[in-house]
């Protein structure tokens, strides 16, 4: 098992590096020019200025050397310097990541806490109102565009009913808690600043619901389908033939089987939430990684994009690995195969 882990991690490192190379090549083979994007038309018309700019960021060197600069950045530990913010990319990521992690985690917990019970209930009470509700929620979740849902939520609960706080992580009137983890809920709890905690929590409600909508739908759908699948299996009839109560059959026999695919999906969902918050963050003015990525992309800020790529690919791969491992824990049939 240990050897398997080492192999997987090594493979992941190679994969993540390859990913940056791909981004690097794409970025360099396309017509867009960061100089133009950064300096604006006026400065870009001055050849001297452009040349100085290129030299400053190493854009005049051959491609291989540019990539080497990036690699050195990785091993220096700062992932290079962003062209648009002029700071080490790692510092940028450190600054923006906590907001995203907090939002994504709350959204993830929400999807799991609602999606799994809803899916289970829908399957065992098939064709009743709860099943219809579950189907409606999952359909609405996967069918409504996040950015629009965010707008509707804001318009309704903030603009219209005025029962929800507006955009941002915390009200300007409230002093944000001392940074320890960067996650406001945890930092506020450490500082025992319950007003800030309540305020931050309030600000999380709308964006986390919006962000969770897609994954919630998927998790409900998958849980329901895999429960229904498990219910057709012979061992359910055997359990019934043993005289077990229905409740015991559901909890003891169906869930352990039905949740296996949900775990895979859950891991993927968390990865998607962590990296897919661009729209939600944009509308809710959430100072997270998604917006940082978007800004870097539009500014053609190569170091920024590649730093983000590396981090994001790493997050994806780590979550994948964790998912595979928990899969092996849940399903004894896989444990042996995966260890091979």
């Amino acid at each position: 098992m240990f050897r398997y882990l080492v192999m997987r991690v090594a493979g992941m490192a190679v994969m993540a590096l390859l990913a940056t190379l791909v981004v690097f090549l794409i970025a360099n083979q396309v017509p867009g020019d960061p100089v133009l994007a950064q300096l604006g038309d006026l400065a870009a018309s001055d050849p001297n200025m452009v040349a100085r700019y290129r030299a400053r960021w190493g854009l005049d060197r051959p491609l291989s050397e540019q990539y080497w600069i990036f690699l050195k950045g990785i091993f220096n530990g700062d992932l290079g310097v962003s062209i648009s913010t002029q700071r080490p990319v790692l510092d940028d990521i450190r600054q923006y990541a906590p907001a995203t992690v907090e939002l994504a985690t709350v959204a993830f917990l929400l999807s799991i806490a609602v999606g799994i019970p809803l899916g289970v209930l829908a399957a065992i009470r098939r064709d009743t109102w709860i099943d219809n509700l579950a189907r409606f929620i999952s359909l609405a979740g996967v069918s409504s565009p996040t950015f629009w849902l965010a707008f509707i939520m804001l318009a309704l609960f903030y603009g219209g009913l005025q029962i929800a706080p507006g955009p941002g992580r915390i009200d300007l009137s409230v002093i944000s808690p001392q940074t320890v983890t960067g996650l406001y809920l945890i930092d506020a709890a450490i500082a025992r600043d319950w007003e800030a905690w309540r305020n931050a929590a309030g600000h999380l409600v709308l964006p986390s619901i919006v962000l969770a909508s897609g994954t919630l739908g998927l998790i409900t759908r998958t849980t329901r389908a895999s429960m229904l699948e498990a219910m057709t299996q012979d061992y359910v009839r055997v359990a019934r033939a043993k005289g077990l109560r229905e409740r015991k059959i559901v909890i003891g026999h169906l869930l352990p089987n039905a949740l296996i695919p949900v775990v895979t999906l859950g891991g993927l969902a968390y990865a998607v939430l962590l990296t897919g918050a661009v729209m939600t963050e944009t509308i809710f003015s959430w100072p997270g990684l998604g917006r940082y990525t978007f800004r870097s992309a539009v500014a053609l800020d190569f170091p920024g994009i590649m730093g983000i790529t590396l981090v994001v690919a790493a997050v994806y791969l780590v979550i994948n690995l964790l998912t595979d491992l928990s899969y092996a824990l849940l399903d004894p049939r896989v444990a042996r195969e995966r260890a091979e």
Binding site: V22, A27, V30, V142, F147, Y158, G159, F294, L300
Partner: protein, 289 residues
Amino acid sequence: MSQAADSAAEAWHADRFGRWRRRFGLAAFGAAVVLMWIAIAILAPVIAPYPFEAVDVTKRLLAPSAQHWLGTDALGRDVLSRLIWGSRISLFAGIVVVAIGAALGVLIGGVAAYAGGRAEELMMRATDLVLCFPPIILAMAIAAALGIGVRNTMIAMLVVWWPKFARLARSLVLVQRSQEYVEAAVVMGYGSGRILFRHIVPNAVGPLVVLVTLDVGQAIITFAGLSFLGLGVVPPMPEWGAMVSEGRELVDQWWVATFPGLAILSVVVGFNFLGDGIRDWLDPKSRRR
């Protein structure tokens, strides 16, 4: 047979339409919605009440009324007309991306799976590489690098889109390849091309059609999202995602952003119902899963 049984059988016959409706009603509804939007897109020049680019600042942000059914936007343009014209780009982008992505993915995945060995390994690693990025971020990066525009955004989406079809095609081919009817074709001496395209593909096509249909909705959402971020279309071209973006600060003038969003929602729901319906039709066992 007893009388009770007879009347039960009669009731059963009488309910034939009811059963059809329960089984395919939603699919028919989905198909109707999709067809309606396609008709709207085609007939846009005929049915749009105003030109989509007609700016009239004296009529900014009018609420829905008899003249402007869905109101006007910040530049005084008719929201309904822009919505109608916008359907062209959204539907086109969604359908074309999925069609090309699926064709490409299936070709690569299917051939790789049937050939096996190195080719299959290479294909799997290539899809791994793409799949280790979050799709929206990768598409965003590529679209930004290529420059704003419908074509460039679609290219960016294609890069992200093909791997899942390649993987699906691979798994479908692998399932079919081990079936005895394929072995029978091998024993008959048929060549690989004939076996793959005449025997395996027609049997694997069902699940693909389902995924393609469901995916058009997702592609429409993604394209609208990229437009929302300012990557999809060049103004003043109307596009649903861009229209939501234009109205996103206008909480009081809710109609500017709400209606284009509803349009997206309705198309996506339509494709979802249609896809589920096709799945039920192809495989009665999976009904209502």
